[in-house]
Point group: C3
Chain length 159, copies 3
């Protein structure tokens, strides 16, 4: 039993992998936060999409008027989808990158810049900041993921 458990944590004894685990947990929690922000806007703006969600506002026409779109809700949903589109590649490529044996300092640089860029991107989208604020923060995260993918392919290429 002990032996097995030791084996399971072997990867976690590796500092690059621990850094990957820390930043991946942080960006995935940040992405999950978007669900709460969307729910907050749906409730405060009274803007829902499912009829069963407005039943507590009464039956019939009085509740039906809350089945509508709201700019703040739609903005939060776009931020969430943008997270999915960008954080999924980071998590997948980052895992392979962490396993490909990079220097700890180089790996930390990648993980930190990506995480910072995505947090700035969230604020830039939700406030919203004037462009190119959101565009630049998106591009920085994109470039970091691309750099990790390049390093993975250089290290493991087997087609």
């Amino acid at each position: 039993r002990r032996g097995e458990m030791a084996k399971s944590t072997q990867l976690m004894n590796n500092e690059v992998f621990r850094a990957y685990a820390t930043y991946t947990a942080i960006v995935l929690l940040k992405m999950m936060l978007m669900s709460l922000i969307t729910a907050y806007f749906r409730i405060t703006r009274k803007a829902f999409v499912n009829p069963e969600d407005t039943d507590s506002f009464g039956k019939g026409e009085s509740a039906k008027k809350y089945l509508r779109t709201d700019p703040d809700v739609e903005r939060a949903r776009r931020t969430h989808l943008n997270d999915l589109e960008n954080i999924v590649p980071f998590v997948g490529i980052g895992l392979l990158y962490a396993l490909s044996g990079p220097e700890l300092s180089t790996a930390l640089l990648h993980f930190r810049i990506f995480t910072g860029a995505r947090i700035i991107h969230t604020f830039a989208y939700l406030i919203p900041l004037p462009q190119p604020g959101r565009g630049l923060s998106w591009a920085v995260g994109y470039a970091v993921t691309f750099s990790m993918a390049y390093n993975v392919l250089k290290a493991v290429w087997l087609l």
Copy 2:
């Protein structure tokens, strides 16, 4: 060759990792099922979004009327997107959690509750069940993923 293959299955000799693999395969297959459910509704409700998908119904105006939205199709699509938003964090954080060396019984509890909650969520969304059925099943899965993320960060924190 043999030696290499043995190495590749080392993680799979760990019971927590085998449990993670089992439940991750199940929830990802459940998510994939949403594609088939959406396709089923598109075909039975004759509600498509791409002009090339309605060509078999004839050319011109007769086919054009099937380029429309349908409540059942949209509901299936929302269920699918909600799966993406919630199952992606489970798969990513669950992997790190499984590697962080939890007790098998604690890990199984997390994986089983999450998987059960997401299956209930799917029925609650598609039937649909009255609220707070869907809301609660969503919140349970969310809380399980949050608990795993907390345990990962406690175990590996390296910023």
Copy 3:
């Protein structure tokens, strides 16, 4: 330090895992390419969704007319979402499959067919090709992922 780094690359010494890493990096980069294609169509078709994105076209009504949907933009967005729905299960189930110790030739067959199918799917969606071009390429990728999930569950089943 050296010992740790060696451990971190142990998985990468396994040929099946190297193949998984190569094809996963390729399909995730392909998915990331969809962001650029959507941006290209938004800029060339002048079709935006965020008011702050049209500020460079002037203030007020003159810029407001570019807040609209465009068929090419929407098509690129659907291709991107379809990638998310199908590439996420491939990355998650493929990782478990690679760790479950399959023959290299069988694993390569799975990875190559999936990657080819998703590249064809992208062209079929964007051009667009007449059906069943897109439908078939989608189904092939789906079947490959299902086959990997079956092999994972057969190898590791621990409920």
